[in-house]
């Protein structure tokens, strides 16, 4: 029967997979990583101080504040949704943490997490139980969280300070085995993220919701619950990042996080996750975050202090990576097509 012959042919061909395609595939699936590595190597040569431990740990630390936000957002995007509220929720988390730090370490950590999770939960509930697109719900969330923040701080004029002796400050400043706590936090969170995506049915449920929402429902998957959770987690992550920033800056700065959602989306996209949902990677988002930080670091080094040029460069980087990913996946598809039944060795889906 033809099905057998198809697979046989595919198997036979697998050995002969062309080098071009192998490379294209590797690059496409890890496009951001490849670009990141190239960039690091080149700049290590171009700028002697770039590869210094100090600078690298600076980059790592900077990335550590954006990374949790991007992680939460990644999972929302898996479901085909989007969370525009993360920037405001991030700022709100910071303000709450700074305010609550007067009541001790636990309060400083828990208050922002709880409130931000609740905001995420409410958004998730609206997305799950109505058919309002998440774009609109979280756009409203963006406004609401910012308004709430202003209301809590007398129209933004009150900046809460973390007491100088608070253990909460250690959260961002302490380190273990030479790596700062925020970096450890990212490592742990992303490890959990990877496990959740690949090794729990929750992970595949999210992808199913993003890929084929009707099918997910008809397959009896817990669509509503998963949607709720994913937005709640995104809120938690943004709140956590905000709390970390409050610890780092020892205060609840009210103007933080404006436009952060766009940076986070850019990081997720750079990482190779489809904004349409249904497919993507967790690690890619981390790579995307680091890539953005490295680019910023380099721009500073090149003396391009005009922040307008920085914006132009950031936009261009985003486009270049997106185009590169598309072109490389085309090369790959062509190569695959050249062989009969090549579907068998298409990039392994989850």
């Amino acid at each position: 029967m033809s099905t057998t012959s198809t697979t046989e042919a595919a198997l036979a061909d697998a050995g002969r997979r062309s080098r071009v395609e192998k490379l294209a595939r590797l690059t496409q699936r890890n496009g951001a990583l490849v670009i990141l590595l190239c960039l690091i190597v080149v700049s290590a040569f171009a700028f002697p101080t770039f590869a210094s431990a100090g600078n690298l740990s600076q980059i790592a630390l900077q990335a550590a504040f954006l990374a949790p936000v991007a992680l939460g957002l990644t999972f929302v995007i898996f479901t085909g949704g989007i969370d525009l509220s993360v920037g405001s929720v991030f700022a709100l988390g910071g303000v709450l943490a700074a305010w609550a730090s007067q009541y001790g370490f636990l309060a400083a950590l828990l208050v922002p997490l709880i409130v931000c999770t609740l905001i995420g939960l409410v958004q998730g509930a609206i997305v799950a139980f109505t058919s309002i697109p998440s774009f609109i719900v979280t756009l409203a969330g963006l406004l609401f969280a910012r308004g709430l923040l202003l209301a809590l701080t007398e129209e933004g004029s009150e900046t809460y300070k973390v007491p100088g002796d608070s253990a909460f400050l250690e959260l961002s400043r302490g380190s273990f085995l030479g790596l700062g706590f925020p970096v450890w936090n990212v490592i742990v969170l992303f490890a959990i993220g990877v496990l959740v995506l690949h090794r729990t049915s929750y992970g595949s449920t999210l992808l199913a919701i993003g890929g084929q929402p009707d099918a997910a429902r008809l397959m009896g998957l817990p669509v509503l619950r998963s949607t709720l959770i994913v937005f709640a987690v995104s809120g938690t992550m943004a709140g956590l990042a905000g709390a970390l920033t409050a610890s780092y800056t020892a205060s609840g700065v009210t103007t933080l996080g404006v436009g952060l959602e766009l940076t986070a989306i850019a990081a997720v996209v750079l990482g190779g996750t489809l904004l349409t949902g249904g497919a993507g990677t967790v690690v890619g988002s981390l790579v995307g975050v680091v890539l953005l930080q490295v680019v910023a670091n380099l721009i500073n080094r090149m003396g391009l202090t005009n922040s307008n040029w920085q914006a132009v460069v950031n936009g261009a980087v985003l486009l270049v990576v997106a185009v590169a990913q598309v072109l490389l996946s085309r090369v790959q598809a062509q190569e695959r097509q050249r062989r009969r039944g090549g579907e068998a060795d298409a990039p392994k889906p989850i």
Partner: protein, 518 residues
Amino acid sequence: MTDTSQQGPAQPHEEAALALAARGLNKSFSGVHVLHDVDFSLRPGTIHTVVGENGAGKSTLIKSLTGVYQAETGCIELAGSEVRFNHPSQAQDAGISTVYQEVNLVPLLSVARNIFLGREPRGRLGLIDVRALNRKAAEVVQDLGIDVDVTAELGALGLGVQQMIALARAVTTEARVVIMDEPTSSLERREVEVLFSVARRLRDQGVGIVFISHRLDELWELCDEVTILRDGRVVHTGPMHELDRRSLISAMLGRDITEHGVTSFTDTDVSETTAEVVLEAKDLSAPGRLQSVDVSVRAGEIVGLAGLLGSGRSETVKAIYGGLDTSSGQITVKGGPVRRGSVPAALRAGIALLSEDRKAEGIVPELSVRDNIILGILPRVSNAGVLSNRRIDELVDRWIRRLGIKVSSTRQLISELSGGNQQKVLIARWLCTEPSVFLLDEPTRGIDVGAKQEVQALIDELAEKGMAVVLISSETEELVAGSDSILVLRDGEVSEILTDDQVDNSRLLSALVDGGQR
């Protein structure tokens, strides 16, 4: 054949153990009453078919039973106790496993994930044991006789394979009730037989099975009981064997129809060698899919394409139509060359393609029936881009009347129509283009006998009027009855050509089998 649902007589064990029962279901959509007081009883260990015209309400009944829709009135009993499902997952948890009419799986996930989504084997820490998952999936798939890499992305597989995967998902749930809504519509005979043996095995294990199909012959082969729906009402229910084909059809349609044999293709072989060659496709190749396929069709001729799943039939017609990237080949229509790989060029040359995948490649769900019909002839119903309502209405009315499409208004959304009527709208779309070559990929898939005969007669009529037709069908009878000659494809190559009196069922079957076995 009376309008009674034979509740409760004779069968002694019925009361004790109905696997699934529904009483007095009513369901309507935005004012359209689709189910009227429908009663339905499924006994364990039987295969029960629900038949009816397109739009009779079969899928709606299924969805009302499984929690996709909530009926407005009526009750549902599962194994004797009343249940109410607000969500398909509740029905699934209660032991009802369903294969819906449209394949409802997740294309971007792997085959194995799709089969076990939501109930994956767990290992340590409650994490999914990926290896066990793939192994179990491979076993299930092999059991169903399909050979496919379970780690491959589902979306990369043909529709037929996907249908089998959906079946695999349904049978692995150890359900007490399995419901299959037109599971065979995209399957080959061989897969159909696998499916039947799976169904019989389940039945012997005491599972109650609901089976829906428009391929009527399958019903007598497989089913024990039948319920006939007409316009949302149950018009008959009883044992399958008590009905003959003719009475089943007339109960379904509410009128008698005369059948000329199995199909309504007339037997006038018009393949006069004198007629001009309208479509000539030479040496069509697409990397990995087609190798040097030649197709030539004369005016008034119907050329059939036969082959097993994935043999490249759909690819061949798509290549002719410009919808598939080809690496070589020449296409001419009435002697004029057609640019390869361009749908607009093909359309201009008078080629039309009715695609096999109605949902993904045919209908535009958000548009009205009217707009769907004129989609292929926009330049012709407009002046400098401005639509001419007069011309549109004229055309649309004509074709709706001509094909007997059931719509409440031409502005109704096409997604609100039943499958068969959607198919007719698409046929209308292509006939509007007044094609000289009509490529029909599974034109009768999923449409009821009445509509099927109409479509078949229509194809015949078109050919008689001089159209060149290429016909793909998984039903060999249809292919044999309809075609003047048949190209048998295997792995993207033409393996045999049957002409004139070679066109018969046994020749075709043996050609297919030879092809399959190499």
